[in-house]
């Protein structure tokens, strides 16, 4: 009996991520969703600039490396080239999606572009070595906010799910976390749903995954997972922010639990 196996949609290339980084978990969840839906042969992934830049080596489906922040625009092009045939997803970090690529994100959502977006929010720029991200928490110490994020100077974090939920366009927005087994299971369900929505032609589906960056947070992996519970989730409440097909359409300030 097989108790554990690598998803087919992942290649055998060893991941380059740091110890305790949760990218590996999310890669696996994406690959499992692709496997379970049987869509690997018609899936095209778009990798970001950021820690996941080399995701194109890790997924076995066709992959495209996009310019920083432009993945939703690239995905739009790919999807429009064969709307019936292709399943297209982007995999983006917070700097990529919520800073340099905000316009592409908002407009792909506004168009209800029929793509799946996996958004890794770990509140920091990992690849360049720990600078302040658009989602860094108020007071959070980073290389470029050495005295803590001062909201009077740097402004406030961008809450992507809340922001996009105010648009008429998108089909499905959910925020999940991958800091414990229960949350990982929920994240798995959300990511699979985001792909299923695309298969069903429902439109723009984004899953924001609250993730850990122990290296740049300066913590051990277990401290980092706890920090998510203590600091990240209170600021970024988990839940479904929009699910048009299920009748969850905000206006309401609170996320549906």
């Amino acid at each position: 009996m097989v108790v554990f196996d690598k998803p087919h949609a992942l290649t055998d290339v060893p991941l380059h991520y740091c110890p305790g980084c949760t990218h590996g978990i999310v890669h696996r969840l994406v690959a499992e969703a692709i496997d379970e839906l049987g869509i690997e042969g018609r899936t095209v992934g778009v990798a970001p600039v950021g820690c996941a830049v080399m995701a194109y080596d890790y997924f076995r489906c066709d992959m495209i490396e996009a310019a920083h922040g432009r993945a939703p625009a690239v995905a739009t092009g790919v999807k429009r080239s064969d709307p019936e045939g292709l399943i297209v997803f982007t995999y983006q970090g917070d700097g990529d999606l919520a800073s340099i690529g905000t316009a592409e994100t908002v407009h792909a959502a506004a168009r209800n572009e029929n793509i799946t977006v996996v958004f890794i929010n770990n509140a920091i720029y990992g690849m360049t070595g720990g600078q302040m991200a658009p989602t860094s928490l108020p007071g959070q110490v980073t290389q470029t906010s050495p005295y803590g994020r001062d909201v009077t100077q740097c402004g406030y974090p961008v809450k992507i799910c809340e922001m996009l939920s105010m648009l008429d366009g998108p089909e499905y927005l959910e925020r999940v976390a991958v800091n414990n087994v229960k949350n990982v299971n929920k994240a798995k369900k959300a990511i699979k749903k985001a792909f299923q929505n695309q298969v069903d032609g429902k439109g723009f589906s984004l899953v924001e995954v609250i993730s850990a960056c122990p290296t740049n947070w300066g913590m051990t992996p277990s401290q980092a997972l706890k920090w998510i519970d203590d600091n990240m989730i209170p600021y970024y409440p988990l839940g479904v922010y929009k699910d048009r097909s299920a009748g969850i359409i905000p206006g309401a300030k609170e996320a549906a639990k």
Partner: protein, 354 residues
């Protein structure tokens, strides 16, 4: 021969793209090229194509990147300030060896500049525009018929060499109407086994990418690309030669400037001055051989440009500065008059000791 219709240059580009099999167009409004977007918006939905008004020029060029990666013919268009925004994407297209067609209907700059015709994006176009070692094939139409013809050629070259073809037009050619015939034979797009169209579980995954973190691998990629460029320089350089056989004063001009220059050359010939014209049709590759050939009789070259003098550098390089090269220019949206060019030719003829 198909019936000729009267059409704006911008519309001719759009129609030609459709004839070339382009079914995806992404754009953003900017004067003086917006007719292309308007034409595509009208036609694409009727032929099962995609017209999308992107949120920015940056988004538009990245949508182009996506369609091209998926193996389809695709085009975007803009005017000077918008091309600056697209330059990031054009560099990525070059780095990933993706074919595309980009139209620049130039207007005066720098900055927001103006909306009147210009040729001041010559450097940007012929030197690549974005970061890194790369070139685009740059085609310079001088008539509405050529707007159509070179657009089709642009798609063919883009696919053949897996690079961006830029149609470097200007506000005048874009806005003017002339008779145009769409009687073209279209080369089918070649097979694109590299495209990300889904593995269908039948092959290894394709990766479209411009990232190479190992420097010697990246160097090898660049070397390989420049071998291709050398071949293009050898095979694809194109120029119109007008009254060149015995020309002592050789005017160099492309696009709208060449049409003005032709009037002036005719006037000079009527006066007995041995004037001629080289009209580069490909700006990259620059038709160096035509210039070298003209050196046989030329005593002076005059570069006529709607800029402060950009192509003149290539004329000097191509002729090795063997004879004087002077500049006849207007800038900022102004166009030299035939009289201005004619006077430059006469002045040169005097200096040349006619």
């Amino acid at each position: 021969m198909a019936e000729k219709v009267l059409m704006k240059g911008n519309e001719a580009i759009a129609e030609a793209a459709i004839i070339a099999g382009c079914r995806h167009y992404f754009g953003y409004p900017i004067t003086p090229q917006t007719e292309i977007a308007a034409y595509m918006a009208k036609r694409m939905p009727k032929i099962g194509g995609t017209f999308l008004q992107a949120e920015s020029e940056i988004a538009a060029i990245n949508m182009v990147y996506g369609v091209s990666a998926a193996g389809k013919r695709v085009m975007t268009s803009s005017s000077s300030p918008g091309i600056s925004l697209k330059s990031e994407g054009i560099s990525y297209l070059a780095g990933a060896d993706l074919p595309s067609v980009v139209v620049n209907c130039q207007r005066g700059g720098p900055g927001l500049g103006g909306i009147q015709p210009s040729q001041s994006d010559y450097f940007q176009a012929t030197r690549g525009g974005g970061h890194g070692d790369y070139h685009m094939i740059v085609l310079a139409p001088a008539s509405v018929q050529e707007m159509a013809q070179l657009t089709i050629r642009g798609f063919e070259l883009a696919d053949e060499y897996r690079m961006t073809s830029m149609i470097l037009a200007d506000g005048t050619i874009g806005q003017m109407m002339e008779p145009v015939s769409f009687d073209f034979e279209i080369k089918e797009a070649p097979e694109k086994p590299w495209a990300t169209t889904g593995t269908q579980m039948k092959r290894e995954h394709n990766v479209v990418n411009s990232l190479y973190l190992v420097p010697d691998v990246l160097e090898a990629k660049n070397f390989e690309r420049y071998e291709k460029y050398a071949m293009i320089c050898e095979k694809e350089a194109l120029a119109e030669e007008y009254m060149l056989e015995d020309a002592e004063i050789v005017v160099a001009a492309f696009g709208i400037a060449a049409r003005v220059a032709k009037n002036a050359v005719n006037a000079a010939r009527a006066e007995g001055i041995k004037a001629g014209l080289i009209r580069p049709i490909t700006l990259w590759p620059f038709p160096e051989k035509t210039f070298k050939k003209a050196l046989g009789t030329a005593k002076q070259f005059i570069s006529v440009e709607l800029s402060m003098g950009q192509m003149i550098e290539d004329v000097r390089l191509a002729t090795g500065c063997a004879v004087p090269v002077t500049l006849c220019k207007r800038a900022g949206g102004m166009i030299p008059s035939p009289e201005q060019v004619y006077n430059s030719i006469r002045e040169a003829a005097g200096k040349a000791g006619e």
